[in-house]
C-alpha cells in the first residue's frame, strides 16, 4: 500500500479532482481511488502528479503513513528556535 497527500495538496490549492485528472491524463474516478489509497499509481503517474504540484515524489507518496503537516511544521519551528 502506498500512502499519499494528494487530497491535502489538492484542497490547499482549491483544485477539483477534474483539474488534476485532466492534467495527469487519468479519469476523475482514478483520482478518487488514489486519494483513498485504493490504488497505487504507476511510476509515470506518480511523476506526473509530483510535476503538477511542483513537489518531489517522496513529498507526495510514501510507503509509511504520513505524519500530519501541522506536526511537522511545529517541529521545524521548534528546531529553528
Amino acid at each position: 500500500m502506498l500512502y499519499n497527500r494528494i487530497a491535502v495538496l489538492r484542497s490547499e490549492r482549491s483544485l477539483s479532482r477534474a483539474d488534476l485528472a485532466k492534467t495527469t491524463g487519468v479519469n476523475v474516478q482514478t483520482i478518487g481511488f488514489l486519494e483513498r489509497g485504493d490504488y497505487s499509481p504507476s511510476l509515470e503517474l506518480a511523476f506526473k502528479i509530483s510535476g503538477f504540484f511542483k513537489l518531489p515524489v517522496e513529498a507526495i507518496f510514501s510507503p509509511e503513513p504520513f505524519r500530519p503537516l501541522s506536526d511537522q511544521v511545529y517541529e521545524m519551528h521548534r528546531r529553528e528556535a
Partner: protein
C-alpha cells in the same frame, strides 16, 4: 428541475449489489444452458437456443464495459447529485457556479478512455479468469466428451457453445464482481435510495 429517471436508473444499475445479481444470473443461465444440451436439438427451436446466448452476450459481456463509462446527465440536479450527492439548490454558490460552467444539457458524462487503473483492473480480471479456466476448461471439455460418449441424444454443439460463452464472459464477470464502487456514485446512490 429534478433528477431524471435515466440518471436514477443508471445509478441503480451501477451498484455493486446489482452487479453481483447480474453475475449470478449469468452463471445461472450458463448452468441452464449446459442442462439444455441434454435435450435433443430441434431446428425449430433455434431462437430458444440462441436468445439466452445473445442476451448474455449483450447484457453482460459487452454492456458493463460501456455502462461503467457512461452516466446520462440530463439536468443540473443530476450533475449535482453525481458530483456532490445533493440536489443543485442545496449547493453553495461556488459549487453551483462550477457546475453551471461545466454543464451541458443532454450530454453524457463519461470517461472517454480507459486509463491505467482500468487497464490494470482488466488485466487482473483476465489473469484471474485464466487461472480459473485453466482448471475448469479441461474439466468442462472432459464432461462434454463423457456426455457425448455415454448420454444418448446430448447436443455437444449446444454444450460447447455455452463453454464458449463462459470463457468469453468470465473476465467481464470478474470485473463486475470485484470492481469497487466510486465514492461519489455511492453517495449519490445512498441519497437516491433515501429519497425513494
Amino acid at each position: 428541475m429534478a433528477i431524471s429517471n435515466e440518471f436514477k436508473l443508471a445509478m441503480k444499475f451501477r451498484t455493486r449489489r446489482r452487479r453481483h445479481i447480474e453475475v449470478v444470473v449469468f452463471l445461472g443461465m450458463v448452468v441452464i444452458g449446459f442442462c439444455s444440451a441434454a435435450r435433443p436439438f430441434q431446428a425449430g427451436l433455434i431462437y430458444f437456443y440462441l436468445y439466452p446466448v445473445m442476451k448474455i452476450w449483450k447484457g453482460s459481456y459487452a454492456s458493463w464495459d460501456l455502462r461503467r463509462r457512461v452516466i446520462p446527465v440530463s439536468t443540473l440536479d443530476d450533475r449535482a447529485m453525481l458530483e456532490h450527492g445533493v440536489v443543485f439548490e442545496e449547493l453553495g454558490k461556488t459549487k453551483q457556479k462550477e457546475i453551471l460552467d461545466e454543464y451541458r444539457g443532454g450530454t453524457l458524462l463519461m470517461n472517454s478512455f480507459p486509463d491505467e487503473r482500468e487497464h490494470q483492473l482488466q488485466a487482473e480480471a483476465h489473469m484471474r479468469a485464466y487461472s480459473l479456466m485453466r482448471v475448469l476448461l479441461p474439466v468442462l471439455l472432459l464432461v462434454c466428451w463423457a456426455a457425448w460418449r455415454w448420454v444418448n441424444g446430448i447436443n455437444v454443439l449446444v454444450l460447447l457453445s455455452w463453454v464458449v460463452v463462459l470463457v468469453l464472459g468470465l473476465p467481464q464477470m470478474i470485473v463486475m464482481w470485484t470492481e469497487p464502487e466510486d465514492v461519489r456514485e455511492l453517495q449519490a446512490q445512498r441519497t437516491l435510495e433515501r429519497e425513494a
